[in-house]
Symmetry: C2
Subunit: 207 residues, 2 copies
DNA sequence: TGTACATCAGTGAACGCGCGTTCACTGATGTAC
DNA sequence: TGTACATCAGTGAACGCGCGTTCACTGATGTAC
């Protein structure tokens, strides 16, 4: 079938066929995500990612200035998927409080489904060097949470009580995610999903 | 003064003087902790740790089977200090709820004071390969939390409600710690310590 | 429609580096007699 | 009190490895004429 020497079955969606890959940038991001998920470590090797894509390491320097640059792109892609997951989780019938709980559940589920990516996204690395796009995504997600909390509590968005309740809810979902990821809840009598339900199912008004 | 060739000012507390270090095992743990704190990364180099202590890398193999072994020892030492900090935090006048809040504040403070150590302690690495001593320390800390929560709520220790409230409080402290460590709360209108007070100062009965 | 050429996206070889680990060895310690 | 010797805790040199990055290069693409 394929006459070209190396594209084979892996043919990227774009023009790539042989020498030119066509979509190397996103292919490298994809490969890096796969690598960290498989190794369950937030680190990966640039060479290995290139190898996966079937390209020389050096080719990656055509798209990323350094390994760190690729890592930032990986974190950004992670946040894109994450905020999509949160949005989907909140799209359910019910009032603001119920939608908040939905996105809380989605938060923990995302962390459990993509542990290494989640860790990379939130690692000091990301916070330090957020790309404009990355921080925009993060800010949007936080503002959604804040708005939902304001509606739930029947207060203005800029009310400090709303701020505190929002960070409190965020801490709860974030901490629960990390405790599960780090295997700290394995010894619990209740299963992890029971705990998630019991803890995040709790109405935020309880604050 | 010193006639020996290499001990100099760094003389360890034990017998060490020149050839024999005297307390190399704990000196290496100490050096590793210092290294991760300085680099703010949960990883470090065995060679660098040995260099710090003023000893050949190979000498470390007399005390640790591998680098991983040393990392486990570092995590164990971290948990030892951590549980001490929690205990101190809870030692304050007041009822069970107030003592719980005290240890919650100590939890977050420890994380802020020793970010890289905190991360290493809770990283998947530690959960996977907990030494007997390490898991014992962790279990003790959790049981203290659980007991305090039972007293606060006026229920039996094995009541599921107590379990849930305990994990909820743990998630709150853990999540808040990580959000601060990862720089996620930097953009908040309230300062981090105001948030800690507002969120952990909240009585656990609110559950 | 055909061709020259600038531009872009890859290749291939090499770099220096620091790492964890292993080996055979030596200097210090402490115990039995 | 003195000495022989087993044991312990270090040294020093070397290993192979995979890494990120740089260099000069070549093959493919697409646009101007």
């Amino acid at each position: 079938m394929s006459t070209s020497s190396r594209s084979g079955a892996r043919r990227p969606p774009s023009t790539g066929d042989g020498y030119h890959h066509g979509n190397l940038r996103s292919a490298l991001v994809e490969a890096a995500i796969a690598l960290i998920e498989e190794s369950d470590s937030a680190d990966f090797s640039l060479r290995e990612a290139a190898r996966r894509v079937g390209v020389t390491v050096n080719a990656s320097y055509r798209h990323f200035a350094s390994k760190e640059d690729l890592m930032t792109a990986v974190a950004a892609e992670g946040f894109r998927r994450f905020s999509l997951a949160l949005l989907k989780g909140s799209e359910q019938p019910g009032n603001a409080a119920e939608r908040l709980m939905g996105s809380g559940r989605a938060y923990v589920r995302f962390a459990c489904d993509h542990p290494a990516l989640f860790r990379l996204m939130f690692s000091k690395f990301s916070a330090g060097r957020q790309s404009a796009e990355l921080s925009e995504t993060a800010r949007l997600a936080y503002h959604t949470l804040r708005a939902g909390m304001a509606t739930t509590l029947g207060r203005e968005t800029d009310d400090p009580v709303v701020s505190i309740a929002a960070v409190r809810a965020w801490s709860l979902a974030h901490g629960l995610s990390y405790l599960i990821l780090d295997g700290q809840l394995a010894a619990q009598p209740l299963t992890e999903s029971e705990l998630v339900e019991a803890i995040l199912g709790q109405a935020p008004e309880a604050f």
